[in-house]
């Protein structure tokens, strides 16, 4: 499938590859409410080529929709909005199967909760807290991923509700290849030893790869420093000076690279805190129903304390470095071969574990294990607590921290976004919908939200003070859905959806609050990530 549309999808295949595209093509996405926030979110996913989508919305197209929703038009006034939006979205990509259900999400939640089981991912837009709580518990039962998106005037929020999300290809922006310069294995050391860094031939001298220069320099350093590595900043500077002294001329790029890469010697990629947390997780005690991911983590843990000698498998890739073609290609091969040995070792451990837990030892493919090894240092596990926990104040501590440090008041917007829902359930309408009740509503909203905040942060005395400016802006917004804000919130939601569906990159680790006044965002970390 991905191949047939490789021209159309070229620009995105360069980001998530054929595997990512395949995951999108297998996804069945449900959109709840197709106002601009929802329609924009789904638009980006339809363009990207998800398998199918279903829109749930029971409203009819009104004049007001023509002012903020691109996927309705003049002729569709009075027609079902779900049907109209569905038809216009279908035009964007005929490989997507676009469907609609003309019913309200709330009604479906009550009458037919099983309806939601069929989806890979549900995007719930512009929904109130009570319905979201019900939806979250339904989705959790069947491991359906849930994304919540809300636009409200110039502000909005996005949250992910997923029990557990495991990522192998987190693709961090500045990943540093593991070169083992301070711990070269026999083949690598032999290669370094065979190259003569003192050689007179100027062409060869300036083409010795920096990895080799650093391996040699580290060995020399150890000889004169009782086997230890440069530690203090003075020692690190000395190390670089002695490297520089071996240069034959100013134009030797390999030496420049060695000096700027010297940090790799004293701060090699090790097992980071995030990986350690995964290794320490209780899910690593696998059983027959454990997902493949955790079986591989269990094998990884064994590998590290055995063949790995305390390290994760080598990724087997080296950065470009000034070198002759021959040296570079040889070096590349040395790293690749070592990485392959690690894959083989991990594979044996995976098979053993599978056997032990009563599964087919062949059930995890070699290519899956290879991918896992290549990314082992950067695997991620995210767990999102139930929405109920967020609402029952587990977020309080984070919120308080944010309220204290933030001058742009995004934490206040979080409280107010929840406050307007409480307002709506008390008064059956949102604050500020009528021009002549703005001031009165602002007072009511402030009282309600302050109570809510104090409950969340467990504060009594003095309590928190919500900015009057923001409270009155919130009433000014009056539950309006501004197209640009909807497009931003919908856009971020679709980006997160892609990360969840492709299982690549790292999704949002909490609740994102968007502030369109200052064009800023803040993330409220949820406790399970702490």
């Amino acid at each position: 499938m991905a191949v047939r549309n490789s021209n159309k999808y070229d620009r995105q295949l360069r980001i998530w590859g054929d595997q990512g595209q395949l995951a999108l093509e297998q996804a069945n996405v449900c959109l709840l409410n197709c106002g601009p926030t929802g329609a924009e979110a789904l638009k980006n996913l339809v363009l990207g080529g998800i398998g199918s989508c279903t829109i749930v919305d029971d409203s009819k197209v009104e004049t007001r929709d023509l002012g903020n929703n691109f996927f309705v038009d003049w002729e569709s006034i009075g027609l079902p909005k779900a049907k109209t939006v569905c038809a216009f979205l279908q035009e964007l990509n005929d490989t997507v199967e676009a469907k609609f259900v003309e019913e309200s999400p709330e009604a479906l939640l009550n009458s037919n909760p099983e309806f939601f089981f069929q989806f890979t991912l549900i995007i719930a837009t512009q929904m109130k807290e009570q319905s979201l709580l019900a939806l979250d518990s339904i989705c959790r039962k069947r491991n359906v991923m849930l994304l919540i998106a809300r636009s409200y005037g110039l502000t909005g929020l996005i949250r992910i509700c997923v029990k557990e999300h495991c990522v192998i290809e987190s693709k961090p922006d500045n990943a540093i290849n593991d070169l083992r310069l301070q711990k070269p294995w026999a083949e690598l050391k032999r290669f370094a030893d065979e190259l003569d860094a003192e050689i007179d031939d100027p062409v060869i001298h300036k083409h010795i790869p920096f990895a080799v220069l650093l391996i040699k320099a580290t060995e020399d350093w150890r000889k004169t420093h009782a086997g230890s590595l440069p530690y203090t900043s003075k020692e690190k500077a000395e190390f670089k000076v002695s490297l520089a002294s071996k240069k034959h001329g100013e134009d030797e790029d390999n030496y420049k690279e060695a000096i700027s890469s010297a940090y790799r010697v004293w701060s090699p990629p090790t097992i980071g805190s995030e990986l350690q947390r995964v290794l320490d997780d209780s899910a690593v005690e696998v059983n027959s129903s454990s997902p493949d991911f955790w079986v591989m983590v269990a094998a990884l843990k064994e590998f590290i304390s055995n063949e790995g000698e305390g390290d994760a498998p080598l990724d087997g890739t080296i950065p470009d470095m000034t070198s002759t073609t021959e040296y570079y290609v040889t070096l590349q091969k040395i790293y690749q071969e070592k990485a392959e040995l690690h894959v083989t070792a991990l594979e044996a451990r995976v098979k053993n574990i599978l056997k032990r837990i009563g599964r087919d030892p062949q059930s995890i493919t070699k290519s899956a294990i290879k991918l896992f090894c290549k990314n082992a240092r950067n695997i991620r596990v995210l767990r999102y607590p139930p929405l109920e926990d967020e609402f029952n104040s587990i977020i309080g501590h984070e919120l308080q921290k944010l309220l204290e440090v933030e001058e742009n008041s995004n934490a206040t917007f979080y409280v107010l976004l929840r406050g307007v829902d409480h307002f709506a359930s008390s008064y059956n309408r949102y604050p500020g919908v009528f021009d002549d009740e703005l001031e009165e509503d602002a007072m009511k909203l402030k009282t309600l939200s302050t109570t809510l905040l104090n409950k969340m942060i467990g504060g009594g005395v003095g309590g928190a003070v919500l900015s009057d400016d923001l409270v009155s802006e919130m009433c000014r917004f009056g539950a309006s859905e501004i197209h640009t804000v909807a497009s931003i919130i919908g856009g971020i939601a679709s980006q997160e959806a892609i990360k969840l569906l492709t299982r690549q990159f790292t999704p949002l680790p909490g609740v994102l609050i968007y502030n369109g006044i200052d064009s800023t965002t803040s993330v409220l970390q949820l406790k399970s990530f702490a």
């Binding site: 021209n7 620009r11 980006n44 949002l508």
Partner: protein, 441 residues
């Protein structure tokens, strides 16, 4: 076209007073009407960002939009440029985008311009109150920046003259990352003030390509930059010609084999040769909407502006950073004048020679014309003016500038806009002091 209630959502911002609004915001129905009927905004680029910008502006109540783009629609645009369909491939982007937006959003007028931004004259750009940029190249951004900053005039006290300011809103994306920024010439930094924000382009030393290739990209670039010229002299390379691309791929593949380098694919060949930047719908939507919202704020003052640069990073969670970049007080493009000190005895001729020798200016100028307070001191062309102004060349600059330092406007066909040079004369310190204060105001 405006049925009752159509703009109800945006009216919350336009018809109601707020607490965090821009200067002199006056909520009223006329505001929306003038947004729809009088204000003119130009969108540059009808690609990934441009399509989104057109939709966003139309649904923010802008009624008169122009769009300019020189490209035609390609299949690889369809994963994000949502106004285009398979049957539009090959048609001009600007024309199709304008049509689609007008069809869907009744009442909005979108005028397409199919062509290069350099083909339009100053008068074209001066028609607009705001310019929104949806571009993917640094060169195009620099060009528009120079044009718009050349409209800028400064008051005697050194503050920018408001009627001469055309604000720009700019967006850019790459994969899951992007930026949005607001440029108010003379007030916030222009592109040239912050050129360093753009990462340098990757280029490989020719000797690496020729002698010590190590990566597939090295092999591809060798064939593209060297081998093509050697083996197909006189045949100019066209990246959109599939036969040309296939040739590069085949040769690069062979070269890689010869050096035992793995990984040359057709897709990579295209990526390297065309310098393809990965692009997805969601990031374009986010960045364009952030830009369009700022455009609405500038047009109506219904909310204070972002100050003045936001970057968005979506690979590891969602991280944004909004920061206030600083103007370069001596910017060659947007400042009231680049400081330049000369002896009070020099002639205009000598002054021109000094300009051409100065390291800051020399690669930007070839035959500069000079004017002072709207008066032509020396014009290189047309011949009539040249002859008229030629006698000034031997006059002392000090006299020509009425014995005071000040700003000279330098025009040159090598420049996109104008260069403002703030001249001070050695030994006339009072003037220097004056101008320094003025520059900071």
């Amino acid at each position: 076209m405006d049925m009752q209630g159509r703009w109800e959502d945006i009216d919350h911002l336009l018809l109601r007073q707020g607490t965090l609004v821009g200067p002199e915001f006056e909520p009223c129905a006329e505001l929306r009407e003038s947004l729809h009927n009088d204000l003119r905004v130009l969108v540059i680029g009808a690609g990934g960002l441009g399509c989104e910008l057109l939709k966003d502006l139309a649904l923010s109540g802008f009624g008169n939009i122009d769009v300019i783009d020189m490209d035609t629609i390609d299949v690889s645009n369809l994963n994000r440029q949502f106004l285009f369909r398979m049957h539009d491939v090959g048609k001009p982007k600007a024309v199709v985008a304008a049509e689609k937006v007008m069809q869907r959003v009744k009442g909005v007028k979108v005028v397409p311009h199919y062509g290069r931004i350099e083909e339009k004259d100053d008068e074209f750009y001066r028609q607009f109150q705001i310019i929104a940029l949806g571009l993917d190249s640094l060169e195009a951004r620099s060009y528009i920046n120079s044009v718009v900053c050349s409209f800028l005039e400064y008051e005697a006290d050194g503050s920018p003259a408001l009627p001469t300011i055309i604000p720009m809103v700019d967006g850019g994306t790459e994969g899951f990352k992007g930026h949005a920024r607001v440029i108010i010439p003379g007030v916030t930094p222009c592109f040239y003030c912050t050129l360093g924000l753009f990462p340098p382009q990757v280029t490989y030393p020719l000797c690496t390509l020729a002698e010590t290739p190590r990566s597939p990209a090295h092999c591809i670039e060798y064939v593209h930059l060297i081998q093509w010229g050697q083996e197909r002299p006189g045949d100019s390379f066209d990246a959109d010609n599939p036969e040309h691309m296939k040739w590069i791929f085949d040769k690069a593949f062979k070269r890689a084999e010869q050096f035992k380098i793995a990984g040359v694919t057709y897709s990579l060949t295209q990526g390297v040769v065309k310098n393809i930047i990965p692009a997805i719908a969601s990031t374009n939507a986010i960045i364009s909407a952030a830009c369009a919202l700022e455009t609405l704020k500038i047009a109506t003052m219904c909310c204070r502006s972002m100050d003045n640069y936001m970057m968005y990073m979506g690979t590891q969670g969602v991280y944004t950073h909004t920061l206030s970049h600083e103007k370069d007080p001596n910017c060659l493009v947007c400042s009231p004048g680049v400081p330049f000190e000369v002896d009070s005895s020099i002639s205009l001729q000598k002054f021109i020679e000094l300009l051409l020798e100065d390291p800051q200016f020399k690669d930007k100028l070839s035959k500069p014309s000079i004017s002072y307070q709207k008066r032509n001191l020396y014009m290189q062309a047309p011949p009539v003016l040249e002859e008229m102004t030629r006698p000034h060349l031997n006059s002392p600059l000090f006299e020509l500038m009425e014995k005071a330092g000040g700003t000279l406007n330098v025009n040159d066909k090598k420049l996109t806009g104008i260069l403002r040079v703030n001249v001070s004369f050695r030994g006339h310190n009072d003037t220097v002091m004056d101008m320094d204060t003025a520059g900071g105001g």
